[in-house]
């Protein structure tokens, strides 16, 4: 990259530097994505092959009827998420979304604790008609069909 190099060579050197950096960034990104992406689980996935404790994952399912309790501090909630095949207990400290109720779908972000409880750091519930976590779209399909059938009758 000095003046002794011919013009053609400097352009080549610059192109090589840029390519090396970009390919490096790409490889780094690919490696990090494999390790850092947070995978989506339903309770039966967790029963079959639980993620290692502490790894960031997301858990989606239905909040079981009668499972929702609030601790004495008023901000810690416990509930059970099920998908009809398996059940996972969840604990969450925070302000729950408005449409988070028993029997509704939920996506919990967090990680598995050592004791098999899911430690949620964030809850995503259906917000309104237009704003819904993607994972809930499929889950509520059955419900949606039922509602449509009801309305049609």
């Amino acid at each position: 990259m000095t003046d002794r190099l011919k013009p053609k060579h400097q352009r080549l050197v610059l192109v090589i530097i840029a390519l090396v950096a970009l390919i490096g960034a790409g490889l780094l990104a690919a490696w990090a994505l494999r390790n850092q992406a947070s995978y989506f689980y339903v309770p039966s996935d967790i029963a079959a092959d639980p993620p290692e404790a502490g790894r960031a994952v997301r858990l989606g399912g239905m909040v079981e009827e009668g499972s929702l309790t609030t601790a004495a501090d008023g901000v810690t909630v416990r509930f059970v998420v099920g998908d009809g095949e398996a059940r996972v207990p969840v604990v969450f400290a925070g302000i729950v979304p408005d449409l988070f109720v028993e029997g509704s779908g939920v996506v919990a972000e967090g990680s598995m604790g050592a004791d098999g409880t899911f430690l949620a750091t964030n809850l995503l519930a259906k917000h309104d008609e237009n704003y819904m976590p993607r994972e809930l779209e499929d889950m509520n399909m059955a419900q949606a069909r039922a509602t449509v059938a009801e309305t049609a009758e």
């Binding site: 990259m1 950096a21 780094l28 947070s38 400290a93």
Partner: protein
């Protein structure tokens, strides 16, 4: 009637755009073709027609004309006027009309004011601009007609998403769109220069104010969006690495790189093909952003309607424009002659590092944003968040900051380390001292620690170019650079300090109880119901004392809107010079206690101050460049007049004498 007028104006504008494209092609192919004279007027009239269409849309929203489907679906007669107007672009069709209007405005402006480039390059540029516009006119008219009528008209509209009923809606989307679409001008200039193979410093000087303008708007739009999400969502965060945020960050990264490489091209005639490439990439990122946000492929408050047809339409436009530009680039890049050479240790060398690092970060953000979409094709659902973006991005961002602190001290072409030795040592020494001092006192995590140390180094490094200069005579663009770089340091300090030192409390409290968070004591004095024009709320009236001082009053609310039904959190913010207290109220728990979430966020406000400083630097540079250009034009005119006078008076021409 007004709606039909708007629609007619749009069709007419689309037809003019087609005419502009054909005339430009004819003009580029045959020098001096008469039809080429139509290109500039066509672009100017298009801007006028789009302005009419946009005003028509504002009118139907302001008057809540419910026979227009878009108004019925998104507005409500009870809404305050400012949200009726802002609601015009708070939906898919309206926002696409805004996009097209801004694009026509930009095209009209370059057609009217830009006369420095060879006419053939300008024709190619305006042709490219009309080619891009044409696609978006088609998208608007065939799949997203904002003026569609509804028969019979409903009695009342659906209203606007309450999250959007905020003054932020009036500013955030138009600012971002000015930025996104402003980059289309850079794209058109790049394509125009490729077509005529005239990649010159003059080309960079002509393109630079446009990139600068778009970049200022993007910077402001991102800053405003971040602050809006911060106080509107009630989650206490200012950046979530949400795909929608990334969609605005990616064009900004590309535009920042383009700004710097255009400077090299303008000043030193180097990095020719690279600048062209970035011009193509920057607008491609705008379009990818629009695709991600508007196609419904992502779910967020920004994805208004999930309509696969629209998604495929935008995807087709993307493929045509990005693919076409890249093919043209591949065919022509080799024929662009090599620019000037430079040594590794030089201003150009530092700017190459800046460009490579910014492009790498862009790649990292792009991969992280698209990865969930790719895996979904294999039925694997993942989400990518801060654990990926923060460390991987930092690996390129932090070294880039070191170069940012030193680069502006270097001379163009070649420099010697001995000349800048003491300044470099001062910058690195300050970073080392701050790093050690902060680590010894607080033992915070690595990334915030590096962030604070580098913020100090960048702050010092950004001011060093002022040393030994006569501040009164410093050109505005240099002030712009200094202030923008200093803004980076300020914003970085805010980000690092907030993530390192923020304190959070989550409690359930009743009237009379006191909650401590950081240096604050917060007391609940009352919890009362309250109401607004289209909502009701529970309001927690609270008194906040900092470090035992006099209490300040604030009242966070949990709001319940009824059209459409939705709850939002109206947080209380108490700002001091050294940070912000952030309070959100949640749901009621038994025995009249309410959930409260409090954050003490030291220096968080510096993030947005920094963003504003960065944009302010851009504004100064833009004023400096435009003023310089006007002076140059005036000087050229004066010289020409003198020459004409001399020739008339029979004197020899000035250049013959020389």
């Amino acid at each position: 009637m007004i709606a039909e007028l708007g629609l007619a104006a749009l069709w007419l504008a689309a037809a003019l755009s087609a005419l502009q494209l054909l005339a430009a092609i004819a003009g580029v192919r045959a020098q001096g073709s008469a039809i080429a004279a139509l290109v500039r007027p066509a672009a100017a009239v298009q801007a006028l027609l789009c302005a009419i269409a946009f005003l028509a849309l504002l009118y139907v929203f302001a008057s809540t004309d419910l026979s227009v489907a878009l108004v019925a679906a998104n507005s409500h007669s009870d809404k305050p006027l400012i949200f009726k107007l802002a609601g015009a672009w708070g939906n898919h069709e309206g926002s696409m009309l805004l996009w097209v209007s801004v694009m026509a405005l930009a095209g009209g402006l370059i057609a009217i004011v830009e006369r420095r480039l060879p006419e053939r390059t300008m024709l190619a540029t305006l042709g490219a601009q009309s080619f891009v516009s044409l696609g978006f006119y088609a998208f608007l008219l065939f799949s997203s007609n904002p003026f569609e009528r509804l028969d019979p008209a409903p009695l009342q509209g659906n209203g606007l998403n309450p999250l959007l009923q905020d003054i932020g809606l009036a500013f955030h989307p138009p600012t971002l769109y000015f930025g996104y679409v402003g980059l289309s001008v850079a794209f058109s200039f790049a394509v125009g220069a490729l077509v005529t193979r005239q990649v010159t410093p003059e080309f960079a000087r002509v393109m630079r104010p446009w990139v600068l303008g778009a970049w200022i708007f993007l910077t402001l739009g991102i800053t405003a969006g971040s602050f809006w999400a911060y106080y509107e969502l009630g989650w206490g965060g200012w950046w979530f690495w949400d795909p929608v945020e990334n969609a605005s960050l990616m064009p900004w990264l590309a535009a920042t790189a383009l700004l710097h490489s255009a400077s090299v091209l303008a000043a030193r005639d180097a990095l020719r093909t690279w600048t062209i490439m970035l011009g193509v990439v920057a607008f491609s990122m705008s379009m990818i952003g629009t695709f991600l946000v508007r196609s419904g492929i992502l779910t967020s408050v920004h994805a208004f309607a999930v309509d696969p047809e629209r998604g495929s339409f935008i995807l087709a436009l993307l493929a045509i424009y990005i693919g076409g530009a890249l093919v043209l680039f591949a065919l022509r890049a080799n024929t662009v002659a090599e620019g000037e050479r430079f040594a590794l240790l030089s201003r150009e060398g530092a700017l190459v590092v800046n460009n490579v690092a910014l492009s790498s970060i862009l790649g990292i953000v792009l991969l992280g944003t698209l990865y969930p979409l790719l895996t979904e094709a294999f039925d694997l659902r993942v989400s990518v968040g801060p654990p990926y973006f923060n460390p991987v991005g930092a690996m390129f961002f932090l070294p880039m900051l070191v170069v940012l602190a030193i680069g502006p001290l270097l001379r163009w072409r070649r420099d010697s380390f001995a000349r800048v030795r003491w300044q470099v040592l001062a910058v690195l020494g300050l970073a080392g001292v701050v790093l050690l001092a902060v680590w010894l006192v607080t033992q915070i995590k690595l990334l915030p620690l590096l962030g604070i140390a580098l913020a100090a180094a960048v702050a010092l490094g950004s001011l060093l170019p002022l040393r030994g200069r006569d501040l009164g005579r410093l050109p505005l663009p240099v002030w712009g650079m200094v202030i923008s770089h200093f803004g980076i340091a300020v914003a970085l300090f805010g980000m690092a300090a907030d993530s390192a030192f923020q304190e959070e409390r989550l409690v359930a409290a009743g009237v009379g109880e006191t909650v401590a968070v950081g240096p604050w004591q917060a007391r609940v004095t009352a919890i009362v119901p309250t109401a607004g024009p289209n909502w009701t709320a529970m309001e927690a009236q609270m008194a906040f004392a900092y470090d035992g001082g006099a209490p300040r009053l604030a009242a966070p609310q949990a709001r319940q809107f009824w059209s459409p039904p939705q709850e939002t959190s109206e947080v209380a913010l108490i700002t001091r010079w050294n940070g912000q207290l952030y309070v959100a109220v949640g749901n009621e728990v038994e025995n009249e206690r309410w959930q409260l979430r409090l954050w003490w966020k030291p220096f968080v406000t510096f993030i947005w101050y920094g963003g504003v400083l960065i944009a302010l630097g851009g504004v100064l540079a833009l004023i400096g460049r435009v003023a310089g250009d006007l002076r140059r034009r005036a000087a050229v005119r004066l010289i020409e007049e003198r020459r004409a006078d001399e020739a008339n008076a029979g004197f020899p021409l000035a250049r013959d004498r020389a």
